[in-house]
């Protein structure tokens, strides 16, 4: 697989605070790479370092095999960025905003017109061309933000949490659009703290915490990393301490927690676990309202690796 971006030993400190710590990874041509991590884990900082907007203390970054720098205009020409904060002109309409940014890459008028139409269709803003950003809802504004970043048909696209605070309809629209960009040939770096999104669109994931890579691979590979293979939740008002101790001794049980009438059991294997616990509850005459089994999620992987939830 062809490396399109290579990051080696990237370290960045804000004053004395280490924001990213010795990151190394590659981005392959044509993939959607997910950058998953909780708030403050260093996703935006990593992107801004790759883009040469931020000074960093150590490390080296190559794009298309060449050192990235603020004056590398031929590299910049092939990059599109959608920053975390919406970056559009309040004073310009939807169409003019896209035209303005696109025009800094594409000077041919006819070609540009077509590119703008494509971008507008991709994010679904056909009916809002004449609107000013103030007149758009949060979700539509995010879509405009994306359109401004990708209208010039870049080969590499950075998207920094493009779906924050967006309604489900806009979110689906955005995710579909991103998949379309990939199928049109772009390579995409996508940061988020929503694991569902990562599971939906990413070919590969890098999990970040406190500026360090704590895991990377495909979503299936990551899930395999988790020791837990199954989780069973039981809603039962009263379980004695003696019973809880007995449950802990059941086969394959890795860990249990009991709080507010909710019992959570995690298993290291996924064989007959539900059957066993139902039998146990019956035999000990414990009454329960609900019982259900789940497969582990990326959140569990994260929980296991860091001891905390992905989202606070």
């Amino acid at each position: 697989m062809e490396n399109i971006i290579e990051v080696k030993n990237l370290t960045k400190l804000y004053k004395k605070k280490k924001a990213i710590d010795d990151l190394s990874f590659d981005v392959y041509k044509g993939e959607i790479l997910g950058f998953l991590g909780p708030n403050g884990s260093g996703k935006s900082t990593t992107i801004n370092c790759i883009l040469s907007l931020l000074n960093f203390n150590k490390g080296n970054i190559k794009i298309f095999g060449r050192e990235m720098s603020p004056n590398a205009y031929d590299i910049k020409r092939k990059i599109g960025v959608v920053f975390q904060d919406v970056a559009v002109f309040e004073e310009l309409t939807v169409y003019d905003n896209i035209d303005f940014f696109c025009g800094l890459y594409v000077s041919n008028n006819n070609k540009r017109k077509k590119y703008i139409e494509d971008a507008i269709n991709l994010v679904g803003l056909q009916e809002f061309k004449k609107y000013y950003p103030k007149q758009l809802s949060g979700g539509l504004l995010r879509r405009l933000n994306i359109a401004c970043g990708i209208a010039h048909k870049p080969e590499i696209i950075f998207l920094d949490e493009p779906t924050v605070a967006v309604d489900p309809q806009s979110r689906n629209n955005i995710l579909e659009g991103i998949k379309k960009l990939r199928s049109d040939g772009a390579t995409i770096i996508y940061t988020t703290h929503y694991m569902e999104e990562v599971e939906m669109i990413c070919d590969r994931v890098i999990v970040l915490d406190k500026g360090k890579i704590i895991a990377k691979g495909t979503t299936d590979e990551l899930k395999y990393l988790a020791k837990i293979k199954e989780k069973i939740t039981v809603e039962a008002k009263e379980i004695s301490n003696q019973n809880l101790n007995q449950i802990k001794q059941l086969p394959e049980v890795q860990n249990i927690s009991y709080e507010n009438g909710i019992l959570k059991i995690s298993y290291e294997n996924e064989k007959n676990n539900l059957e066993n616990i139902i039998d146990f509850l019956k035999n000990n005459q414990i009454k329960y309202r609900k019982i259900y089994s789940e497969r582990p999620t990326l959140n569990d992987v994260f929980l296991e690796l860091t001891g905390k939830e992905l989202r606070d």
Partner: protein, 391 residues
């Protein structure tokens, strides 16, 4: 790319209502406001004709010129009316003064005039001043009359020529006096308008400031995006500021058209120098805006606030709210106004209006250029950065 950015920056700036208000509309509103305030002062003066009495002694009755002048100055139909005069005898005049029905009375005699008042005040001063002027004018008229009589008495051609010359000189001196007086009246009003031009030139810097703010990755979100385009920062910054400068100049031009064309304010007639001063002054405002934007890290609104505040303070020191402030600063802390761009612009227009030589004007132009150079240096140091410690 250069023109593309210029065009869209222009479009975006023109659509920003707040900016356009401060840079184009606000100066015009201020001009209108100044004009109203000053014409009110004038009107009040007209209505408050001073109550005086003239003692109608023999000398007065026989002196037609005195009589006519006084009657003219007291005529209700005269829009420059100064006096509300009563013509009485000496005893009546005394009585009126004691009852405070008049501010003073005048007794003319062969070789002097007596002005009797029992208080010192503005009205009394005006009374004295005007009466002295009248007597002086009368003396001049006497001299002219004498000389003219001499002409008829003389038979020598040379004598006639000489006399005519001296008459012309006399008349010229007289009219020079009159012009001086009218200038003194005007100066009060015009200097406020000079500060208004200074304000407009400097306010325009806000436009350049906002345009630059859009280009900087460490200052705005749009700046981050623009920093990732394949267009060099220099190109973006120059095309953006040019768009700002253009609107700024339109603002100054509008103010001139409005004040000179509609309000009929007299700025003098050195048009070329005025245009140069406006261009240089606006450039100083632009560089100030750029320096503030590039060097100070806060929100766009805060930067606009800083620029407005600094400009207003500068204009205040330059005499916007009363010329006495300018005199006070010029006299006691001259360094402030030497560094104050608002004062340099004001003083530039002032010197063009009042002085025939251009030395003082060039001094101000130089001061503005030095100011701009310092601002540019500050801006360039900050603008050269392309990678930041934090954004």
């Amino acid at each position: 790319m250069f023109f593309h950015n210029f065009k869209y920056t222009l479009k975006a700036l023109l659509r920003n209502k707040g900016l356009i208000f401060w840079t184009l509309a606000f100066p015009l509103i201020m001009a209108l406001f100044f004009n109203m305030a000053f014409s009110n002062i004038e009107k009040q003066d007209k209505f408050k004709a001073i109550n005086v009495a003239v003692v109608t002694n023999e000398y007065y009755e026989n002196n037609t010129m005195l009589k006519e002048t006084f009657e003219l100055l007291s005529d209700e139909n005269n829009k420059d009316r100064v006096f509300d005069s009563k013509y009485v005898n000496q005893d009546e005049a005394k009585e009126l003064l004691e009852e405070e029905k008049i501010d003073g009375y005048v007794v003319f005699s062969e070789d002097s005039q007596q002005i009797i008042v029992n208080k010192n005040g503005v009205n009394q001063t005006i009374l004295k001043f005007v009466v002295e002027e009248i007597v002086q004018a009368e003396d001049t008229a006497d001299i002219i009359q004498e000389k003219v009589e001499n002409i008829f008495n003389s038979r020598e051609e040379n004598g006639i020529m000489e006399t005519l010359k001296s008459i012309i000189i006399l008349l010229q001196n007289n009219s020079a006096n009159i012009k001086d007086n009218s200038d003194a009246n005007l100066s009060y009003m015009t200097i406020e308008f000079f500060t208004l031009v200074a304000m407009t030139c400097l306010y325009g810097g806000i436009l350049g400031a906002v345009a630059i703010n859009w280009c900087l990755a460490n200052m705005s979100n749009v700046g981050k995006r623009l920093s990732m385009t394949p267009v060099s920062k220099l190109k973006m910054v120059i095309s953006g500021t040019l768009a700002g400068y253009l609107i700024q100049l339109v603002g100054v031009a509008l103010l001139f058209i409005f004040t000179i064309g509609i309000l009929k304010i007299d700025f003098g007639n050195k048009t070329f120098e005025m245009v140069v001063l406006a261009l240089v002054g606006s450039f100083a405002g632009l560089t100030m805006g750029v320096a503030v934007t590039a060097a100070i890290k806060t929100s766009e609104n805060a930067k606009t606030g800083i620029l407005i505040g600094f400009t207003m303070l500068g204009c205040f020191f330059a005499g916007m709210m009363g010329v006495s402030m300018k005199y006070l600063i010029d006299k006691s802390v001259p360094i402030i106004n030497k560094l104050n761009p608002a004062n340099m612009i004001t003083d530039g227009f002032y010197s063009l209006y009042y002085y025939d030589t251009l030395d003082r004007f060039y001094g101000n132009i130089c001061g503005l250029c030095i100011f701009s150079a310092i601002m540019l240096a500050i801006a360039i140091v900050s603008l050269r950065k392309q990678k930041y410690e934090s954004i």
